[in-house]
């Protein structure tokens, strides 16, 4: 039985924790970059010991950092990733209708939305490509 696009929820499409970079709070920037490359995503999530989302770090953050923070690469690489992270990222709950989440991504001009529960614990990531594919039924 196919699900109507209006019935689709964020939780139906999210990428689980095993498919996205999930970095402990004390991770180095270089470790986050390597994880992003390994997962082929332009975003890393940073969580505390309880798995609660502390911030996110994106390709865009890297670009802005390189233009602003002109210290040597060897120094940047050993910065704590959280230092360069967005600590107040937009997030969504898994029961949010997928259409609304994609609209939110359009409004904010972002490609990814971390998905969290009521306690702020990271559940996964809503990535634009699979979300759109699902909505288009392809």
């Amino acid at each position: 039985m196919s699900t109507s696009t209006t019935d689709l929820k964020v939780g139906d499409v999210l990428l689980g924790l095993d498919r996205i970079p999930v970095m402990p709070a004390r991770s180095l920037l270089k470790e986050a970059l390597e994880a992003m490359t390994r997962r082929r995503l332009g975003i890393a999530t940073i969580v505390d010991d309880a798995g609660r989302l502390l911030g996110i770090f994106t390709d865009g953050d890297i670009r802005r950092m390189l233009l602003k923070d002109q210290k040597p690469f060897s120094a940047l690489f050993v910065d704590d990733a959280i230092r360069h992270a967005n600590r107040k990222p937009a997030t969504v709950r898994p029961d949010l209708p997928l259409v609304e989440a994609v609209r939110m991504m359009e409004d904010k001009e972002i490609w990814d939305l971390p998905v969290v529960d009521a306690q702020g614990k990271l559940l996964g990531l809503l990535h634009l490509h699979p979300a759109v594919k699902r909505l288009l039924g392809i």
Binding site: L28, K68, P72, S74, A75, V78, D79
Partner: protein, 294 residues
Amino acid sequence: MIPKTITVGYDNQVRHVTIGGTQPLAFLGGPCAIENRDHALMMADRIGVICDKLNIPWIYKSCFDKDCRSAPQSFHGVGLNPGLDILADVRREFGVPVVSDFSDAAWAGPTGEVCDLVQVPALLCRQTTILRAAAETGRPIHLKKGQFMSPWNMKNSVRKIEAAGNDQILLTDRGTFFGYNMLVNDFRNFPIMMETGYPVCFDGTHSVQLPTSMGDISGGQREFIPYLVRAAAACGINALFMEVHDDPPNALSDANTVLDIQYLERVLSHAKAAHELRLELLDKWGEDRVHLDD
């Protein structure tokens, strides 16, 4: 990040010294090498009188083994057990915490049994076995930045210590190689190493060393000690390290850089005043942060 403090002193035989944050500037000092018991006790007595007069919390520093000497005939030290016995006597006699470095991982345990602070030599600051051994003593660790290391890469050494279960670290700058036989001090090192959250220290005597500049021994330019110390204190160090001797020309180790004790009160007075002035200025005008806002 809230700066960490470390407390040096593991029993009530000694006065405990807390280093970091807005604590008073601490002093780590003594002869480079333990020469003999009488000399060690005499130096501890004389340094203690000066520190008590200036109300500066301090830790007696002297090493039982000098494994990094340039020449085979240079004084190598009194040895592990005799040296630790002397440091234990200093502790007991003067109630002052003590620190020695160690350059063989097997010596870490005995060093930590006596010393309140265990020191990792700069030249060994990235050796995993040494760092792990230091961490496993359970004592606070005085980790000196290698002359060949960038300040940011000290974080790798810090992480090795943390991974071994120890988060009591004091990070010290003792100069950075500038070509051969020459050190320079880059005062950016202090705020950069502070980013680890741990307290930072300046080694005012090794920083003026000219490593192995005299062929088979190191030279030095001790005339620069007061300038560098005052600048480091103003920069925001939490502790000052200086090797001190009553007879520098005849010191058995680092004769070209140790500070003559006749100048210790003067140099410490400047350092303490600069440290206190900095805290007053921060209190009045706010932090050093001048980043552009996002």
